[in-house]
Amino acid sequence: MKSTVNSARRGFLWKAGAALSAPLALVAASGDARAAGTHDAARARLTELEDVNAIRELMRRYVRHVNAGAHDEAAALFAEPARTDTRFARAFAADPAGGEDAIEIAASGTTATGCLHCTAEIETPIEPVTPLVAMARAQGGGVLKRTDRGTLEAAYVKRDGTWKIERITFRAA
């Protein structure tokens, strides 16, 4: 069993400070509906909303760090930072023409998936590394850039009460 929380607005991640105030539409499974009105269901729904908001904030921080080039800080948001390379994209930005963003919390409440519509500035390292390319890399260059529309697709895991990114990929539209 899992539930899906969609944003009422597109591009919810790009609205700074809206984590707790953005209206949400809860698309509940039938089992949840039967439990509606009960104390447990209310608690479950609250937990779910808190999880969604935590993941949204996690993703905001991820995007903010990547956009700032703070890759160590971005990697620290992952369940396994040491095995993470966040440099596959230089920056993410809202895609006004993209679809609805979504976060799905698994029934266990310890894993989740997310889908964020965005444009990504992709950097491909120039190869092979000649002396000039090496020098360019030393100042943040030495890459080919392009901008793609698509979705950031992520899996999350809750560790010690904190949501972490398990993996994340950008899928071009």
């Binding site: 120039i126 390319v133 090496a134 020098m135 943040g140 890459v143």
Partner: protein
């Protein structure tokens, strides 16, 4: 006897002593303050002032005379120190060390606006203790009863692209180019004879539209800092120099200088970008105090032993590899030479016989030699009747390579003859320029005429776009050196380095140049520059841990301007 003082070694070859912290402390303790060839300013004598900076540093001064002060850092205990101050119009520069420490301050005060910029400087902050570190603090002079000003001096690109000749009051003459927002390029005319230019990480700070603060540190060399306030209109400067020279003696003096404006080359930032930030792409500014991008070529490209290099070359030798970002815009491979038989007879060197069996396959042999040597080559017709080609000389003891320009209209040839290994490094190329003639059926070469060295490019700046995402700029900084500049993502000039170079004129607007990335990655770059088509073709020659590589070069050019500088190099 020569009037020009050439050094035993140029700066990039000097083995500067790794001074210990104790040695530095002892040398600093021995001086009372900066010396000066000009009378020191008494502008501050008898005054007190407190400088407040945005990062929290405060400096409270009492100036008892023109060379004695007490300073309190962050309202701490006041200490006495010697200082020197000089003024330039409404700006005053003062400099002092903090006794008992390896620290000091260079302070620039605008007495009209009360804005102040403080360079906190220190030794022993990097693995090479002698390299001066700096942290810039922006602030103001506190005025009792008045609110703090909101404006600040700030970094700028408004001085990027300028160049000046300077003569300090102690007779030291330099040429200084500011082609990037991170680095600068300087030629020591007096100290080193002006043969080569050198580069150092630099700061450019705007005081107003006339006045700027410039600083550089000779990183990877002596570590000396030069800082001055300059007036771009009047070509005047007041500054300070702090560091240890080749003999390890402390240089600490303030100076006044006058100069000449040498010109303005192009800037490539978007219109409206005045450089209040530096676009470092996905690279963060180093977080250490005073951190900034510094190109450290010898750390990136360590020297190899001859056996290690030979082993690497035996393992991998790459000839004109297809995938090469330096050749994304190369000229088409020429068929001009296919089927030709000729001899290239060089003055005072070899005569080499060639058989061009195919578009990329040749045979060569020394005149009188029985056996032929087969090589892979590439060639490009850079101008009608002018063909450039390159090849290795298989079996030669120093992995010799030839980069050759032949002018079939004049029956002239010039070869840049590269060899691998110098007295300094095994993985560093050396080069000799060989002039000669083409001997071929139907071609009568001249008896006396040859291609000639030229100064026609000196002072020019040309951008080179090698392939998408990879563009550099050459600044032909002296008749014997060339600097290369990598652009930041917003088009600002970024990191820069420099090496020995020379220029040969092939025809009008057609030049054969080389540069050596000495004490760096050891590459020999050779290019034939066509200023009519704004295109080059060339051959790169490099050896290192990954083996030996002979590769093509090809880029589109744009003229970025020219400094009027040649007269300073005339003998």
């Amino acid at each position: 006897m020569s009037a020009t003082r050439y050094p035993q070694e140029q700066m990039h070859r000097i083995k500067y002593t790794k001074l210990t912290g104790a040695q530095i402390s002892a040398k600093l303790a021995a001086v009372a303050g900066p010396t000066s060839s000009s009378p020191l300013s008494d502008a501050f004598a008898g005054e007190s002032l407190k400088i407040v900076t945005d990062g929290g540093l405060t400096l409270s001064y009492r100036f008892s005379s023109a060379n004695k002060l007490t300073v309190s850092e962050n309202d701490g205990k006041a200490v006495q120190a010697g200082y020197g101050a000089l003024t330039l119009d409404h700006v005053a520069l003062l400099s002092h060390l903090v006794p008992g420490t390896q620290r000091g301050y260079h302070v620039i005060v605008d007495r009209d606006t009360n804005l102040a910029t403080v360079f906190e400087v220190w030794f022993s902050g990097y693995e090479d203790n002698r390299e001066v570190q700096r942290q810039i603090h922006y602030g103001y002079v506190e005025q009792p009863g008045k609110p703090a000003p909101t404006a600040r001096h700030s970094i700028t690109n408004r001085i990027e692209g300028k160049g000046f000749y300077w003569q300090q009051d102690n007779g030291i003459e330099t040429i200084e180019y500011y082609p990037t927002v991170l680095y600068s390029n300087f030629v020591e005319l007096t100290r080193l004879g002006g043969e080569l230019s050198f580069c150092g990480p630099s700061d450019y700070i705007k005081i107003d539209d006339d006045l700027y603060i410039y600083s550089r540190v000779e990183c990877e060399m002596s570590g000396t800092m030069t800082l001055y306030v300059l007036d771009a209109n009047r070509a005047e400067q007041v500054g300070v120099r702090l560091g240890f020279g080749a003999s390890d003696a402390l240089e600490y003096y303030v100076f006044r200088g006058r100069g000449e404006w040498l010109g303005q080359i192009a800037q490539f930032e978007p219109f409206g970008d005045v450089g209040t930030t530096i676009a470092l792409g996905n690279r963060q500014v180093p977080q250490a105090k005073g951190g900034r991008p510094v190109y450290r070529p010898m750390k990136t490209n360590p020297a190899m032993s001859k056996p290690d290099l030979e082993a690497a070359i035996a393992k991998t030798t790459s000839l004109f590899a297809e995938k090469n970002p330096m050749a994304g815009n190369k000229l088409p491979i020429s068929e001009y030479l296919k089927g030709k038989e000729l001899t290239l007879r060089y003055d005072g060197w070899l005569a080499l016989e060639y058989r061009f069996d195919d578009v990329q396959k040749l045979r060569w042999r020394r005149e009188g030699e029985a056996a032929w040597h087969e090589e892979r080559y590439e060639s490009w017709e850079a101008a009608p009747g002018v063909v450039m080609f390159g090849h290795l000389m298989s079996g030669a003891p120093d992995h010799d390579a030839c980069s050759i320009v032949m002018d079939f209209d004049q029956a002239l040839v010039t070869c840049l003859h590269g060899t691998m290994g110098t007295p300094y490094m095994a993985n560093e190329a050396a080069v000799k320029t060989r002039f000669g003639v083409i001997e071929m059926k139907g071609l009568v070469p001249p008896k006396y005429r040859r291609h000639q060295y030229t100064d026609e490019l000196v002072g020019s700046a040309i951008t080179w776009n090698y392939s998408p995402g990879l563009t550099s700029m050459h600044l032909y900084s002296t008749p014997h050196s060339l600097s290369w500049i990598i652009f930041l993502e917003n088009g600002s000039g970024g990191l820069e380095w420099s090496g020995p170079a020379s220029y040969v004129k092939i025809r009008d607007e057609l030049y054969f140049a080389y540069w050596l990335e000495e004490a760096c990655n050891g590459t020999l770059g050779t290019i034939l520059i066509n200023l009519r088509t704004m295109h080059d073709s060339g051959v790169g020659y490099h050896a290192g841990p990954e083996g030996l590589r002979l590769s093509s070069i090809g880029a589109h050019a744009r003229l970025a301007g020219r400094f009027d500088v040649l007269k300073y190099f005339s003998t």
